[in-house]
Symmetry: D3
Subunit: 299 residues, 6 copies
């Protein structure tokens, strides 16, 4: 079989698959939101929240022009992509004018909160600097700490989640997940002065609630006890509640929608918790005895 026939056969196979699968066969192109545009939106918000830190700096002063132009671009992308997302979900017989109106209201409500979100993020920067002896400056936190990227994206994506925008909140947080190893579902509720150190492997589930002044380390899971129920569990509170002033050290796992970690508690690393903990508690895993199996030379 020649190369061209090889390709031809593969095309036919793919086309058969597409014709037999609604996910592939629909006219997708005009309709699906664009992942690239949504990533572009994230980058615009980083510039808006932290002017000067993520630019090839050409303008000499951070001005209202800089902020305004980036906000205008962000508005335009958010509006367009949100409209695409709702229209795709709604299907062909939807009245576009109605959806446009709805999307416009959503964008306006979110934009109203943007200065407030920036204030939240500056508190997160503060928490990061104060809580990490390895932090040399707050600028370093903004520039390079993965948690700042993850939280910045989460705080914007959360607003879209609250407005029931399809696809986009998840595309946003998975972008941050890819860059940082920190997976915060946009449905979670997270208070002020939040900090995650190192962060790789952190999972914060959709129905998690986190208070103020909470600090997490790498590998912490705030998860569900079981997902066996699958889609039947959608919208059920499945993930824990973490009250104010809690610190959870590395690789600890807290599971379950009824599990609450009381305020001002400290959980040592590697704890595995499926029941609630009262406030002001210090928890450490009774770590398994180590077995010293004798000198290596004996092996």
């Amino acid at each position: 079989m020649s190369q061209i026939d090889t390709i031809k056969n593969a095309v036919e196979g793919i086309m058969d698959n597409c014709n037999n699968n609604d996910l592939l066969s629909k006219k997708r192109k005009g309709n699906l939101p664009s992942r690239n545009e949504i990533i572009h939106l994230i980058k615009l918000f980083r510039k808006i929240f932290f002017p000067g830190y993520f630019d090839d700096a050409r303008t000499s002063i951070c001005t209202e022009y800089y902020i305004g132009e980036n906000l205008a671009k962000a508005y335009s992308i958010m509006y367009t992509q949100t409209l695409l997302a709702f229209m795709y979900e709604a299907g062909e017989n939807t009245d576009e004018a109605v959806v446009e109106k709805q999307v416009e209201e959503i964008c306006k409500r979110i934009f109203k909160k943007i200065p407030y979100i920036q204030q939240m993020l500056m508190k997160d920067v503060e928490a990061g600097f104060v809580g990490d002896p390895a932090a040399k400056s707050k600028e370093e936190v903004i520039f390079s700490y993965p948690c700042l990227l993850a939280i910045s994206v989460y705080r914007i994506a959360h607003e879209l989640y609250v407005e029931n925008v399809p696809f986009i909140p998840r595309i946003m947080t998975e972008y941050a997940h890819s860059k940082t190893g920190i997976d915060i579902n946009s449905g979670a509720t997270i208070g002020e002065y939040f900090f995650i150190d190192h962060g790789t492997g952190v999972v914060i589930g959709e129905t998690t609630t986190i208070g103020n002044n909470v600090k997490l380390y790498q590998g912490v899971t705030l998860g569900a006890l079981s997902t066996k129920g699958g889609q039947s569990l959608a919208n059920v509170k499945r993930h824990p509640t973490i009250e104010d002033n809690v610190t959870i050290y590395a690789n600890s796992t807290i599971l379950g929608g009824q599990t609450t970690i009381g305020h001002d508690s400290v959980l040592a690393g590697n704890t595995f918790i499926t029941e609630s903990i009262p406030p002001f508690t210090k928890v450490s895993a009774k770590t398994p005895e180590l077995r010293l199996k004798g000198k290596m030379s004996e092996q």
Copy 2:
């Protein structure tokens, strides 16, 4: 010492190193495959498997032209890079015509499987949607779930691994590893309806076998008991077997080539398993007792 001398000295040092090390001194340029081209190949396959989802959509309908053109590009890159990889490995005195013929056969065999791989991936999408209460739609799974990227890349890389293509399978899966935190060795064998939730920190070793309907969570390691043997262990079955319908929750570790998790079992989070488990078993780690060390205020 002037700046130019500083650089000159560094150049001389580097050149000395290169002349003393076969890995650096060979005429590398014409020969080594190109990492960038291989990443481009991955992106082409994503477009082929999920037409419309990863495009800046300009064409208005997903047609055989779209599929065919992307397949033709993919064929060309796969052929060229595979040829480079084999020729580099074979060394200078190889008969290129023989290798060209061999590579052509490999590419044809792989392309024959592409529609089948797409079917597999659509089943993985199904598994992801059904198994995750946080999934709002199957489109969301395709768009943004890291496991979909990891599995898509694995399923293609595995075909190259089976054909003993040097370098490329590993470059492919490490690309996915970098983007998702999920490290699936291309040598592993993985069945249908496979899903990994969150995924960061998952490791699936080279000689792992996984059945159908298996679900993993973040931080799961399917690894070797020891690698002390180093290269002497190459090609030995070192990683576990996971039978059909098994769920393994977060941060569990299953080690060893003789370890089999029997079908229809569920392993809770944080289990550490080095011996086989019979079918239909529910396993949970007897988690270490927590020590509640008293109120924080007492500290």
Copy 3:
């Protein structure tokens, strides 16, 4: 409220925030180093250390021209960004000529070590190949192993850390962290023949010391016991010491500045260690008994 007013209000809110926060209000632009330039510097060093592996190869032979031109570019970026970093930190009333002189000396000292760093990295490649049965060749290690990226970046960033360069070492190592899931603080001290397998979730703290021939697996934390002291702990030895010839398997946690893992020891996976271990010791966690909760069908 119209769209334009929505944006205008957001601009005003952001401008208020900026005017009330030193981190945002300063004329940042001319001064802050550029993250993009620093990432470009990392890429140049990869080309210098591993000529031909990360190029779209057009030149036909790896020559002193290739090395020299890339070194000259690297010097220029390192000089410029280091100067920006010091000047920003020093503030407006600094004598730039003094800082320029200082930065020039720093760059020269670092460039003198570059051939030596390359030798170190080739030993790391050797360690990676010898220690991993899944490694097909040393080229594969260079091309695709995440640890090689993480270590290459660490070894350069460490030299800048030693010279007290602000911002840049952290931006560098967090770039590698983002790409690999391996978080090595540039302050750590790491010996020869170092290898990390898989790597996702590895954390190596700022005051860690690691000897020669050490091998780590994914999820290993070399961390601090507590960071409650925050900035008051800066510059205190908070992270462990790992002596020569130690292997630490996946997801183990070693904490504390006084904790030393004696040479020629092996720590199994999932160990949790906060006290020192003598040399030649084999440690395994007495893993929690598994509870086999009966057949799944009984659920």
Copy 4:
């Protein structure tokens, strides 16, 4: 005055201008067609007409997939930009559905002619090769002759002109003008086997008619006698008619809507013609006598 005030004043001045000028004040953004997209469309057509000549060739064979995918992209851009152009011209109270229908019909009519246009262009290539002793091959003509670019663009733009599409035909031909120095108005009518040698400075006006087998040289103007009438002359035949088999050498000027150059005529360089010339005529300018002003040394 500070820098920021300088900018602020300039902004105010510009905003005043914009508010006082309809061309600047309208909401232009959503509406104006995009010059970049139109240039992209031109490049797609070049690939379609001359497959393989203007690609970074990755696919190994020119297939229907290549042609089809590029045509589908071209269709999409042509439809979108043409719709934007008509909607902008029509103003806000237009029924978009009506215009969409109209634009769809236009695109379909034009696409029906595309294979015919390609045949025309291959004849132009033939004319270029046969007519120029300096042409080494027909491939060279396709690759590099400026007239081929100019004619390719003209032949497509002409179809849009005929359909009264606003803006786009002119943007297209001015792109070619910029690249080649050949300014063919899309309104001109040009027959088969057309060739322009060198081409810089050629002007072919909107109401020009050119027969088959016509050859022009650089600097030839086929223009209007006077444009004093300005817009009142719009749609009047103002430019000459050139019948079949005419050659016009460099820098000749033919003016006037009533001027016809009869078939099978040859006009030497530097002729200036404002009246008709019968068929089979050979015309040369009685060039001004040269004045040899004596030896240079006498100056």
Copy 5:
């Protein structure tokens, strides 16, 4: 001789040349202005003057943010490049602070004129539309007429010329020359409502003066009688004066610093003028009689 020796020899030859030629041997890098940056500056000004016409439009309304941000970027580039240009010209022993002050004043003076320049350009658009029967709309003139690009660039470059900025005015106008074939020296003085139709081959010399409402066609030269004097003629008035309301048709040549074309005159195409023409004159070249050399068939 091997390939590497071939290159080595070429390097040596080039280095010898560089060492023997001041233009090549100086430390050029830090000092020369950047052609790319200057082209970027031109593009910014096009966006500022014609908001929306040269954008991939994402922002939904042309606002002061858009104008302000682009002006701020333009200011930054103009300042930086102008400083580089003056410092390079002044040589190493110059007091940079003095030059910085001077450059700041220059930039401020030019920015003060920007709204006025925009007004001038809108008049040029008007002239282009009114004067060309082929113009379908004023938008078309802005979008695609080469004279608009040439004049826009000239009007900015002229301000830099007036301030004696080295290099940059010429780089600017040659950029426009390259794109349009219209070569306007930035030293020329040009009034309002200026229009050039087609434009290829137009040359307007450094000391030309042009009044209001002047219209030129392609190939018109406003040049010097002789340049035999070379650099000794620098700063001498060498090019003609064109008074108000003059039209000069295609390929006419007007030479000499003492030559004035009186107001309200019309020069037909192909005239060659080296002496002054009084106002209200209509000039046509007594075109050379054509010689009709008989029927082509007689050849």
Copy 6:
């Protein structure tokens, strides 16, 4: 007819054309040289000839590394593209090894001349500066004079022409033609200290010979008397000879292979010459009498 059918029909028409035309039907892809690569080669040579002038300057000093690396890249592209060009021309049954050897020899011969070509170009810069009162500095000539680009490209392309390399010389000079409006055929022979002022519209034919110290102005044609013979005239001397120290002013036309302009002559603008001129001659066209047609107000 639906849109998809419209495209399908167009594809079929195009495929029919391709199958019926050798220029389109051959497997073009692997074989044709790449226009983009050839343009990249031109840009490399500009950097080599004028180090620092066309860079985004990052390296701080022009060193042998800079020159060597750019030369090595240039060698690689020239070798690859020249090989492609010869192999395409030779057809399928050619012995590639023989052609490779031939191409290697060609590249070596050309590279040997590169330092000499640079010297020639520096003389052209000198001629440009000395001959143009508007030139403010030699740097300005290098940076922005179109003739410098045209001559640089010509001098390299000429070497490839002399070696009978197919396609590439023409692609090179047409690139320069597109950017400058100056069309120098790579077959022409041009001496030292060559300068073209303004340049738009200049044509220098394939068999032209030009001595030293020649200066041309815009619109000068050095052309053939007639091209009626078409391909039968290939390789015949068809274009004039211009001896040393000749100046030819704007828009003059010199035609014919037997026409020689004697040394030290000056041709005024708009002359039209088809016969030889003795040395030391000053020629001006007896310009046609102007007809002053009376006051404009009388019209």
